[in-house]
């Protein structure tokens, strides 16, 4: 599976008056495409901090001690704020815990919903166009290098131009079709709803509904969806007549005769239209471009698709793919040759950074030069951005900065620490008890910092070596398909535009989707006019409005009640499947997680103590903290006294020496107070950090309440 996000060795602390609070202590995890990763833990366990780091909104007093967060070939901890603007909210969206503080109190809800859509639409269209052009030009350039002659070059250029033209054209057609198709689906639901209410003899505003149908029905007319024939025209006229007879004001009379039948007919028409297979617009677009006068409306869809596909392949595509694959092969070969040369060069660099007396200026100049070369060696025609080469520059520069920062600041910090200690000792010697503590010195270990510089280069070398090794299995045909898919995706982003009207329609749709009744009224209200649950739904709607890649949910349902919670979880699940989202779900409620999560990470005191699939965590929990969490919540069959976890989490300014959970742990071993347990691997997917898993540890059974529950659960399955 594709890794969407990688968190490596992340450590974050906060500078406070009492000293550094170690909020996150060296955690690693990956987020795969289309999966839900749940992070479970008590408040203060660092789960929110981790995710704030991912979205780049850490508080001002935070220090990133070490680590990388890699998304789309970028290290999110090191990129500039301007670059983050393009990712935050757009690619990675977040639903916050407290809906009141994450909504603007003086803006209407509708404005808040559509604001980002409208702003983003323009920017992302421009962006997509830029990406599209850049890739196509690059492809063209490589084609030129492969096929040298002058007329060939002109042909290449023409081919690329044609591809550009028809790609955009096709997506335009498709986008129009999708829009109308969506309207048809919505209208069908609306009419069905009206019919349902009428059949139940419930009061409805007939005038409003009729007006709605008359307005929307003509908008579903499209050669591939609904055809405007005489019957339809007559029906619409009849409805209009009925509407006129109802009058504008006053009491709503009953619906005139025949209207229900017309509405039922409409449902049938729409139903048929919706279930028709969708034509392949990519091929159809090319066909229409070449034969603008052709009439294809009456053709069956399958036949049409086959015909246009054949036409496209023979006329253009096969040749284009062949040329493209050659160009990609060429680009790859060039890149590999450069990487081979760089392998030797990096050897030198390792030596350079091993030298004892590094000069700051020289080191930075050298690093910049090296980074430029690494950048130059990247195969730009490769669509998937992964590996150390993309994060090399930010990583190396950061490591160097840290090292020289340490050289500069260490003596100062040491001096301060000594001064304060001396002062405190003096006060104590005088018989006073100072009510302040000495803030521990935060000193950069220069050896480690130096090692970090070299490890960045090592990582790059490792990546290069494995890439060169895999050179033989490079499949340029597959890559060209990948590239064309990428271009198609960008083209659809170019075509997809949001007008204020559309934004409003979408916002209303979203409001309805997240379960807000009367969206049209609610759209114009201020956040304070909503109840807590409603406010949270609006926050979710705003997060989804931008169509993100990764959705981070920070306890989105904690303040909501069960039915709403279930609805919101279902909503997130559905959207996840529809849009192939990756979700990070933070919560302290394990019950919520069971439904949502593919994998679960249990955090305690800034560390991941157990990581596994949902089944692993619920049916085979291994860490005492997970046991405690499971046993402290009642389920429907619990009768006995709950086993609460005694005490409170440790103070993270002075984290305990051994396992942080040892002091609250009934099953703590002696070694737990001495040394931190490493991650033990239990199965392919299941890891836990507890000494109980060590081969020499005594055998310990989980608490009775947990084992009984697991047994009950397995019995339930049998039923």
């Amino acid at each position: 599976m594709e890794k969407k996000l990688q968190v490596k060795d992340l450590a974050i602390s906060f500078r406070t008056q009492g000293g550094k609070v170690q909020a996150v202590r060296h955690i690693d995890f990956d987020l795969y495409k289309g999966e839900t990763l749940a992070i479970v833990g008590e408040s203060g366990s660092g789960k929110s901090v981790t995710n704030r780091a991912i979205i780049g909104i850490l508080a001002g007093n935070s220090i990133v001690e070490s680590g990388e967060i890699i998304y789309d070939g970028q290290d999110l901890l090191k990129i500039a704020e301007e670059d983050f603007h393009k990712i935050r909210g757009d690619k990675i969206a977040m639903i916050f815990q407290d809906p009141m503080s994450s909504l603007n109190p003086i803006m209407r809800v509708g404005k808040q919903l559509t604001e980002a859509m409208l702003l983003k639409s323009k920017a992302s269209r421009r962006n997509a166009r830029r990406n599209f052009n850049a890739k196509l030009e690059l492809l063209n350039a490589h084609m030129d290098q492969v096929f040298g002659s002058a007329e060939q070059r002109a042909a290449n250029k023409a081919k690329c131009k044609l591809f550009d033209e028809f790609c955009i054209n096709s997506t335009k057609l498709e986008s129009a079709y999708n829009e109308i198709h969506r309207t048809a689906v919505e209208l069908k639901l609306d009419i069905e709803n009206v019919l349902f209410l009428l059949s139940k003899k419930q009061p409805i505003d007939e005038r409003k509904q009729l007006r709605h149908v008359i307005k929307l029905m003509p908008k579903t007319v499209h050669p591939d969806i609904v055809v405007m024939d005489d019957q339809l025209k007559a029906d619409l006229a009849k409805l209009q007549q009925a509407l006129n007879s109802l009058g504008l004001f006053g009491k709503v009379a009953a619906l005139p005769e025949g209207c229900v039948e017309i509405l039922q007919r409409f449902v049938q028409i729409l139903d048929k239209a919706i279930n028709r297979p969708k034509p392949n617009y990519f091929t159809l677009g090319y066909y229409m471009l070449k034969n603008p006068t052709a009439n294809v409306d009456d053709m069956p869809i399958e036949e049409l698709t086959a015909m246009t596909r054949k036409f496209l392949d023979e006329d253009f595509m096969l040749e284009f793919i062949q040329m493209g694959s050659k160009a990609i092969q060429h680009s790859h070969d060039v890149s590999i040759a450069r990487k081979r040369a760089l392998l030797a060069k990096t050897e030198e660099a390792l030596e350079f950074f091993r030298a004892d007396n590094l000069n700051k200026k020289a080191a930075i100049a050298y690093a910049k030069q090296l980074c430029a070369q690494v950048k130059f060696a990247i195969d730009r025609l490769n669509v998937v951005k992964s590996g150390a080469q993309y994060t090399f520059e930010s990583g190396l520069m950061d490591a160097i900065k840290k090292y020289f920062g340490g050289i500069k600041n260490n003596p100062k910090e040491q001096a301060r620490f000594e001064r304060q200690t001396a002062k405190r000792n003096k006060l104590i010697a005088r018989g006073k008890t100072p009510d302040w503590k000495v803030v521990p010195a935060s000193i950069v270990d220069l050896d480690v910092a130096r090692k970090n510089i070299r490890s960045v280069i090592h990582n790059l070398r490792h990546d290069y070596a494995s890439e060169i090794e895999l050179n033989d299995s490079f499949n340029s045909e597959a890559k060209v398909v990948e590239l064309i898919d990428y271009l198609k995706e960008q083209a659809s982003a170019v075509v997809y535009r949001v007008t204020p009207k559309m934004a409003k329609a979408r916002a209303l749709k979203l409001l309805e989707e997240v379960g807000i009744p009367d969206p049209a009224i609610r759209y114009r209200q201020y956040p304070f006019e909503f109840s807590g649950g409603m406010r949270q739904r609006i926050v979710i709607a705003i997060a989804l409005a931008a169509n993100p890649d990764i959705l981070i949910c920070d306890e989105p349902t904690t303040a909501l009640d069960v039915t709403i919670q279930a609805q919101i979880l279902e909503l997130i699940n559905r959207i996840k499947v529809e849009r192939n989202l990756s979700v990070i779900f933070i919560t302290h409620d394990l019950g919520v997680v069971a439904n949502m999560a593919d994998r679960i990470a249990v955090m305690y005191a800034g560390k991941i103590v157990e990581l596994g699939t949902a089944d692993d965590i619920f049916y085979r929990p291994a860490h005492p903290y997970t046991w405690a969490l499971l046993s402290s919540m009642p389920d429907l069959d619990t009768k006995e006294r709950l086993e609460a976890i005694p005490g409170t989490p440790p103070n993270m300014i002075f984290p305990p020496k051994g396992d942080a959970f040892a002091a609250r742990n009934k099953y703590a071993l002696e070694i737990d107070f001495e040394e931190q347990p490493p991650m033990f691997q239990i199965s392919d997917t299941h890891f836990a950090a507890t000494w109980l898993l060590h081969p020499n540890a005594p055998q310990v059974e989980p608490p009775r309440i947990v084992t009984e529950r697991i047994e009950r659960m397995s019995n339930r399955e049998v039923k």
Binding site: E42, S43, F196, L197, K200, K201, Q202, S531, G532, G533, T558, A559, L560, D561, V562, T563, I564, Q565, A566, Q567, L569, E570, H588, D589, L590, G591, V592, V593, A594, N595, A597, A614, D615, F618, Y619, A628, L629, L630, S632, M633, P634, D635, L636, T638, K639, R641, L642, E643, A644, I645, T648, R709, M713, R716, E717
Partner: protein, 414 residues
């Protein structure tokens, strides 16, 4: 089984909020009884009026209609139903008179006079009811204090009469007077206390824990500092805190400890009924368990009755004896907690139960959530629904046709 003593009785409770011309019927005709020593759960989704019910009972709001009885005494009463009755009677009389004038019978005058007389009688009757409701609502504490004073007098008077004149009698008289004064400040509302949802917002950040807990005692009229301290330390001990905590401020405590302070404040006046308004929903899971265990212990040690308002059904199931399910200001089902979870009958209850998340991935993935659509589930065009008892102790809000249906369903289940 001995007859259970009714501690709290809520009759036709109505709480409306007016915003402009729009009237929000937050609580609409709610009836229930809470027996002494039980935990009564009130569940429903947000906005269904469960918190408003709790707050109306403890008189944080003046109720619109209905009455609440505590230990047999009416503590709050609304007048809307009576006023509505007057309005209805007037309208009815007007219609009747109009009908008479239309048909012009021979004894029109006499008939109209009879109707007017009847109307006047009705109005007088309702006005009497309004008056008594207003009196009870305003003076419940006074009545209670007078009753307490009479108890004190009853206790001291024979002793005083028996004693001869002298220093001993003087001392006893003094004691009697002090007790009388204290009893005069006693209120029936002290017998009811509330635990709020948010322990951060409900504790005054400028008061120490001692001040927060002692505030109730001071308002109650106790001036003995030593006694107050004793009481504060006693309740701190009861809720699992230590006396050293008394001098600290709320911000120095963790969420669970703050909620314990809230509980300590509630129990310091020896209440009989605690209204716990979602006391655990903002706490962490591990702390939730601590607080539930604490409430359970207190309930057994102090014999408390608890009205437990929550939306977490698994907690309510674990903690409550009887549960009432609320939907849009009305109670739709009321029964013991085991019965409710074993045989839910009302479609809303079913949908609520089907939404409970369970810590079991396999079960969760197959789970079908039932959605409740009041328009589709009920047909009230023929007969309006009302509270009916389907089996002993199991009440459900439905009309006769539905009752038959539910009864059949219940039989099929058994």
């Amino acid at each position: 089984m001995a007859e259970k003593q009714v501690l709290l009785k809520v009759e036709h409770l109505e709480q409306f909020f007016r915003s402009g011309t729009y009237v929000n019927k937050a609580v609409n005709d709610v009836n229930f009884e809470v027996y002494k020593g039980e935990v009564f759960g009130l569940v429903g989704e947000s906005g269904c009026g469960k918190t408003t019910t709790g707050r109306s009972i403890i008189r944080l709001y003046d109720i619109t209609g209905g009455s609440v009885y505590f230990d047999g005494q009416r503590i709050c009463a609304g007048t809307r139903t009576y006023k509505q009755a007057i309005r209805d009677a007037k309208a009815k009389a007007k219609a009747q008179i109009a009908a008479i004038k239309e048909s012009q019978p021979a004894d029109a005058e006499a008939q109209i006079a009879a109707i007017n007389a009847e109307l006047a009688q009705e109005i007088a009757k309702q006005k009497q009811l309004i008056k008594s409701a207003q009196y009870d609502h305003k003076n419940c504490n006074k009545v209670f204090a007078q009753y307490q004073q009479s108890l004190v007098t009853e206790k001291y008077q024979p002793m005083l009469d028996a004693l001869p004149e002298g220093a001993e009698k003087e001392a006893l008289t003094k004691e009697y007077k002090a007790a009388l004064k204290l009893a005069g400040k006693d209120r029936i509302m002290n017998k009811m206390q509330m635990i709020f949802q948010d322990p951060i917002a409900s504790l005054n950040p400028r008061m120490t824990v001692r001040e927060i807990i002692a505030e109730g005692l001071i308002i109650r009229g106790i001036t003995d500092k030593k006694y107050i301290d004793e009481q504060v330390y006693k309740v701190l001990d009861l809720v699992g805190l230590v006396p050293e905590h008394a001098g600290r401020y709320p911000h120095e405590f963790s969420g669970g400890q703050r909620q314990r302070i809230g509980i300590a404040r509630a129990i310091v006046l020896n209440p009989e009924l605690i209204i716990a308004d979602e006391p655990i929903s903002v706490l962490d899971v591990s702390i939730q368990a601590q607080v539930i265990n604490l409430l359970n212990e207190l309930r057994q040690r102090l014999g408390l009755t608890i009205l437990f308002i929550a939306h977490d059904l698994s907690v309510v199931k674990y903690f409550s004896d009887r549960i009432a399910v609320m939907y849009f200001g009305k109670i739709v089902e009321l029964t013991t907690s085991d019965e409710l979870f074993a045989h839910p009958l009302h479609p809303y209850t079913k949908s609520l139960l089907s939404a409970i998340p369970l810590p079991d991935p396999h079960f969760e993935k197959q789970r079908k959530r039932i959605t409740y659509n009041p328009l589709a589930s009920h047909d009230y065009s023929v007969q309006k629904p009302y509270m009916q008892e389907i089996t002993p102790g199991h009440f459900i809000y439905c009309n006769d046709a539905e009752l038959e249906m539910y009864r059949k369903e219940l039989e099929a289940q058994q």
